[in-house]
């Protein structure tokens, strides 16, 4: 019976192969690590470079925005749209129109300023707090033109940003429709309107 055994030559070849294999694996691994480290550093540098490039691009964009909106923004601040509201200006305009148009009765009421719910605003305005003050205006006047002069004056002359929410206009003197106007009549019509004054401020987390 032949006895199986690995001969010396094969043993030598096996050992040689094993040594070569291990040493080559080691060398390849070392070269892989070298490549990987170089690649990582390269990737980090690419990231850093992009970050600086982006900063410059963002700064450029911001600069353009500043140039574009600087004047408008300044006007809005002067008009008390941005910052604190200027109620006195509104009242002055109301009184001025009432006097100049000789409006029989003008009653007004300004409610406390409230902060609008963030959820009701578009997400793109997340950095801004929007405040609203509701002004109710009750008038008695001869002609509907008086009402519109009042509303236009508030919009154009008063310091602030206003929008009319609702307006009820009623004819008191039904004879007007038939062209009969009394000599001392001062209040053919009455109106009740609600206006909202908006002011904008930078949000605390904006």
């Amino acid at each position: 019976m032949y006895k199986f055994s690995i001969n010396q030559e094969l043993k030598k070849a096996l050992v040689f192969f094993a040594i070569i294999l291990l040493s080559m694996i080691s060398m390849v691994t070392v070269s892989e690590i070298y490549k990987s480290n170089a690649n990582d550093k390269n990737a980090r540098t690419v990231g850093e470079m992009r970050s600086w490039r982006n900063k410059i691009e963002v700064a450029n964009r911001n600069n353009q925005m500043l140039v574009q909106h600087e004047d408008t923004f300044k006007k809005l601040k002067d008009k008390f749209v941005i910052g604190d509201e200027n109620r006195l200006s509104w009242v002055e305009v109301v009184q001025k129109v009432a006097d100049s148009r000789r409006i029989a009765s003008v009653k007004y009421n300004i409610a406390s300023q409230v902060l609008l719910d963030k959820n009701s605003l578009d997400k793109k305005y997340a950095g801004i707090d929007v405040f609203k003050s509701v002004m109710s205006l009750e008038m008695k006047f001869i002609h509907e033109g008086d009402l519109f002069v009042m509303l236009n004056a508030l919009r154009d002359e008063a310091k602030g940003l206003v929008a009319v929410d609702k307006c009820d206009v009623e004819l008191i003197n039904k004879n007007v429709n038939d062209g009969i106007i009394g000599e001392n009549i001062t209040d053919n019509m009455r109106a009740y309107c609600e206006l909202s004054w908006y002011t904008l401020k930078k949000s605390d987390n904006g």
């Binding site: 305005y125 950095g127 509303l151």
Partner: protein, 540 residues
């Protein structure tokens, strides 16, 4: 010693073991060992002193027998079993030194396979030498049969087709005759001749009777009475004259004599003595294609397999080194590229940083407000746009509509004006499903959704006493006229002077009236309330 490029072969002729050393195509040396104790010792000394290079052994012995037989056409294990039974029957004592070769199929009958069986009838003759080879740890790659190898010479001498009898002499005392049919070996025999070792020029007279005897045997054995047999004789320069004068062709036997020197030249081998053909066959055996030997036990070749495995491992090592070097080179090249790229990127980064620090860093705080400024301006623009939907706009539009002569006289007593805004979330859904109702919500002036006027308009129309149909017609006419306007989205009735709608209650009184009562009723009666929804002006 056997250096690189050197090959050797053991050639055993039965009486003597000859070792041929080849350096590429040149015979660089040969040595012989007699089959006796002294020869064995010398052979052992030779093997121990020489490099243990892989060597094959070729046998040209009289103790080799050939048989042609047929077996059923089967494959695999069945074929092996059938052949094994044949070997047991014919060569029981030879077992490990047998060889079989399927040479084709019969064309008629059962179409059985034709098989050539070969065996060394006295294996101990060979084993004595193999034991020495094993003791000396020399890898033996195979044990070959000269008759089986000799078919490789047929293309060289132009004898691939027909019946061919190849006659050659490897030692002075023997004559080898191998018979082929269409290039396939059929039988072979070695016959002893009493030729003088010194004078081989009279080979003709010794060979002729043997060849004639063989041809007679072949013709009777294989029924070749009418067929031509091509007899090819190999001879040295000294033998050519004798062979050519002795073997003269006739109608049934064609003799061709080949000079060994010419064949060597044809094969490009040099350094061979042309006395006999042993060197020529040794070369053919050494350069045969494939690794399969003809005889021997597996254990006899285990050193060869080890040597093969060792060589494979060395070759693998070289491949591993080459592949690794390629990978290393690739990795290092990539690494260097990355480093170079990193250096360039660092320079660019430094430049970006410098530009930013010089131009923009001082304004960082200012820039932080730019977006806020953009947002604020955008929002104010949106509020201003939506605030253009005013009661004045509505009243002007309504006034224009009711001035239409088709409507006739109408009194507007009260307008309750407000706005509404389309719910964009519902609108998105409604685009996907057109049948979903569009929904509205209270106006949010910061939103860019469409804003519409909504007003309850209360008024009067002059009515004729007890003429309900005219009142209904006028109101319907007003609603239709308002609805026909591009600005008006929808007009719906809330209260009508004459309620003929099934969901409403209606009560009235019919009696005779004076003229003044009729005028009063005309002014006071005919009251209505309409809900008018109007679109924003086009410029908004």
């Amino acid at each position: 010693m056997i250096g690189s490029g050197m090959k050797r072969i053991f050639y055993f002729s039965g009486h003597r073991m000859t070792v041929f050393h080849w350096n590429r195509k040149t015979l660089s040396g040969a040595c012989s060992f007699e089959s006796n104790v002294e020869g064995y010792d010398k052979f052992k000394q030779y093997l121990e002193s020489s490099e243990k290079a892989t060597t094959c052994m070729m046998l040209d012995v009289i103790e080799e027998d050939f048989r042609k037989d047929v077996i059923p056409h089967v494959y695999g294990k069945d074929r092996k079993a059938v052949i094994s039974r044949l070997m047991d029957r014919y060569f029981r004592s030879s077992r490990q030194y047998t060889y079989s070769e399927i040479q084709g199929r019969q064309k008629q009958g059962r179409k059985d396979d034709e098989v050539l069986l070969a065996a060394i009838t006295n294996p101990e003759l060979v084993r004595a030498w193999i034991r020495i080879i094993e003791e000396c740890d020399v890898p033996l790659s195979g044990i070959l049969s000269l008759p089986l190898v000799s078919k490789t010479i047929l293309p060289i001498i132009g004898a691939k087709k027909g019946y061919v009898l190849l006659v050659s002499q490897q030692v002075n005392s023997n004559l080898r005759q191998t018979f082929f049919k269409d290039g396939k070996m059929v039988s072979s025999r070695q016959s002893v001749i009493n030729q003088d070792a010194e004078n081989i020029s009279n080979i003709g007279q010794y060979a002729r009777p043997e060849v004639e005897r063989t041809i007679t045997f072949i013709r009777s054995q294989f029924q070749l009475e009418d067929d031509v047999i091509n007899v090819h004789l190999l001879g040295s320069d000294a033998q050519i004259d004798s062979l050519e004068s002795t073997f003269l062709s006739d109608l049934s036997n064609i003799y061709q004599v080949h000079r060994i020197k010419d064949l060597n030249h044809k094969l490009g081998i040099t350094g061979l003595p042309d006395r006999f053909a042993d060197g020529l066959f040794a070369w053919l055996a050494l350069n045969r294609s494939g690794m399969t030997g003809h005889y021997g036990r597996k254990q006899e070749f285990v050193r060869f397999y080890y040597a093969l495995a060792s060589n494979a491992l060395y070759a693998s090592s070289v491949i591993v080194i080459l592949v690794s070097l390629l990978l290393i080179e690739s990795n290092i090249s990539d690494g260097i590229s990355y480093i170079e790229s990193t250096n360039l990127l660092q320079k660019r980064t430094a430049e970006f940083r410098r530009v930013y620090n010089e131009k923009y860093q001082a304004y960082e705080e200012l820039f932080s407000n730019a977006k806020l400024m953009d947002m604020a301006v955008g929002m104010v623009e949106q509020i201003e746009t939506n605030s253009q939907i005013t009661p004045l706009d509505f009243m002007l539009a309504l006034s224009k509509l009711v001035s239409n002569p088709q409507i006739g006289r109408i009194y507007i007593d009260k307008i309750e004006w407000s706005t509404r805004q389309m719910d964009e979330t519902n609108r998105t859904r409604s685009r996907k499903k057109p049948d979903v109702e569009v929904k509205y919500k209270p106006t949010n002036v910061t939103s860019s959704s469409e804003v519409q006027h909504v007003a309850i308009v209360t008024g009067r129309i002059p009515v004729t006493s007890n003429n309900y149909r005219e009142s209904v017609n006028r109101i319907n006419n007003i609603i239709t006229t308002l609805n026909s306007s591009d600005r008006v989205e929808n007009v719906s009735a809330i209260n009508l002077p004459v309620e003929v709608r099934p969901e409403k209650k209606f009560a009235s009184e019919t009696r005779a009236l004076s003229d003044s009562e009729k005028d009063e009723q005309s002014n006071k009666g005919g009251q209505f309330s309409l809900k008018v929804v109007m679109k924003a002006p086009e410029h908004v």
